[in-house]
């Protein structure tokens, strides 16, 4: 069963101007926009962390037929904010 990243916004001091997203589970960083995180390919979306959510069979099937996977965490805006 495939699992997918759940990205949330994170502050970063470097000079890259793209949005910084970090997977809530495995911690991988991606320089992508929110919209890109909502539409990831199968290869980009896969997360190896055991606690990451499973991809529903229908969503995976759609992705194989040219669709995309939504990898934005539900609390993407606030997850990494100190509150």
């Amino acid at each position: 069963m495939m699992r997918k990243h759940q990205f949330a916004k994170i502050d970063c001091n470097c000079t890259r101007r793209a949005t910084h997203l970090k997977c809530v589970f495995c911690g991988v960083m991606e320089y992508r926009s929110l919209d890109e995180a909502r539409r990831m390919s199968l290869g980009q979306a896969e997360c190896q962390h055991a606690d990451a959510p499973q991809v529903p069979p229908q969503e995976k099937f759609r992705a194989m037929m040219g669709g995309t996977l939504d990898c934005l965490a539900p609390d993407y805006d606030t997850h990494f904010k100190p509150d």
């Binding site: 529903p56 069979p57 229908q58 099937f61 194989m64 037929m65």
Partner: protein, 408 residues
């Protein structure tokens, strides 16, 4: 030190003129004139375009200094400083005229170097400010005029106040002026739905900004088109909505493509629903990706253990059903056609009995491929004898019926 200016001097008194010119030259400025008559001052302003004009109130000829000032500021937008004698400064009626002439500054005779320096500094500042304003105005004007999106400003009563060219042309009007004067009521002439504009206003009053507001609107020639509006409210000092600004995109092609796509999808849906066979698309883990109405009816038959779960999912817009493949056993007790397909691939078929109940069927399984050619699933068809055919209109009804049977 003020930057050097080209200054036109208008003074009919030779001594006064020489005095002014001397002061200007000493400060490093360039003198144009002097002009002794109002008409001559206006002509020189037109031909020479000085940076500033020093104008005596009383001039020779028919045109006095106040009238010449009015002409020069209005026609050429050149700053004028009026110069007057001490006695005239106490003439209230004359001072009223001076105030209304458009002059930027005012000096009384005798003109001192300090007064001149101060006034010319004001002129320089004014000129720079003006140039900046004109510049940014032109930039915004150009963005507004050349935008490919429609831009407008409208009042809450349903009239357009301003429009750019793109918006007027989008709606089939010959130009912005034509649109603004031609549309007397958006309710009658623009929006297809009578209450659409009121909905937009209500949301603007509540939220301040409305994005992606998609409506059907009439063009000038009566054609209906789809537009998406992004609007921002502008309030007056009392917090009342005074007018609003809109950015408009023509989304007719997109909406029509979506409608064609939905129709095509509907035809495909009805086609597989019209089949008497149970048709189901599975992934390689036997998960149901899509199923036809006959299959949903079969699986949700009375007493079926998964009926409740199936009914929940059957109502989904795309028809995906979150259950596993139907359980069946082969007639000879060996692997089913699906088992054989998952092991060997290819086309597989054979007699099976559906569980529970043991209804006899012929099951055929064919590979389902992704666009790149890899097999990612299977289409499974179960044909049973004596099963009636669902009509196209029955399909959605069956599915809706299933969705309604939650908690069976």
């Amino acid at each position: 030190m003020t930057q050097p200016l080209r200054v036109l001097v208008a003074e009919d008194d030779a001594v006064g003129a020489a005095l002014l010119c001397g002061l200007l030259v000493r400060e490093g400025h360039v003198v144009i004139g002097p002009a002794a008559m109002g008409e001559e001052a206006v002509r020189l302003a037109r031909d020479e375009r000085p940076d500033a004009v020093l104008m005596d109130i009383w001039l020779a000829g028919d045109m006095n200094g106040v009238e010449a000032t009015r002409a020069i500021t209005a026609d050429f937008d050149i700053p004028v400083i009026l110069v007057t004698g001490a006695t005239e400064a106490t003439d209230h009626e004359l001072m009223e005229q001076v105030a209304g002439s458009g002059a930027l500054g005012f000096m009384s005779k005798p003109v001192t170097g300090d007064a001149l320096r101060m006034n010319l500094r004001i002129v320089s500042h004014h000129t720079r400010l003006h140039a900046r304003l004109r510049d940014s105005e032109q930039r915004y004007r150009s963005i507004f005029d050349n935008a490919v999106v429609g831009i407008y400003m409208a009042d809450p009563e349903g009239r357009y106040l301003v429009s750019n060219r793109a918006f007027a042309e989008m709606l089939g009007w010959s130009g912005p002026g034509d649109l603004v004067s031609g549309v007397r009521s958006m309710d009658a002439q623009i929006y297809e739905a009578p209450s659409r504009r009121q909905e937009l206003l209500a949301r603007l009053r509540a939220e301040g900004t409305v994005t992606g507001f998609v409506s059907q609107v009439y063009g000038r020639d009566g054609d209906l088109l789809w537009v998406s509006e992004h609007c921002t409210a502008v309030y007056d000092w009392a917090g009342e909505l005074r007018h609003y600004e809109g950015i408009v995109i023509d989304v007719t092609a997109r909406i029509e493509a979506e409608q064609r796509w939905r129709t095509t999808l509907g035809i495909l849906r009805s086609t597989i629903d019209a089949m008497p066979d149970h048709v189901v698309l599975l992934d390689l883990e036997r998960n149901v990706i899509m199923a036809n109405a006959s299959w949903v009816r079969q699986m949700c038959g009375p007493g079926h253990p998964e009926a409740a779960a199936l009914a929940d999912m059957a109502g989904q817009e795309d028809g995906t059903v979150m259950v596993r493949c139907p359980d069946c056993v082969s007639e000879d007790g060996g692997p089913t056609p699906l088992d054989r397909f998952l092991r060997e691939g290819g086309l597989q078929s054979g007699p099976v009995r559906l569980l529970p109940g043991g209804e006899p069927c012929v099951c055929s399984v064919s590979p389902y491929r992704a666009p790149d050619g890899t097999v990612i699933g299977a289409v499974l068809v179960l044909r049973s004898d004596g099963d009636g055919c669902l009509t196209a209109s029955e399909g959605p009804a069956v599915r809706a019926d299933m969705a309604g049977r939650r908690g069976v």
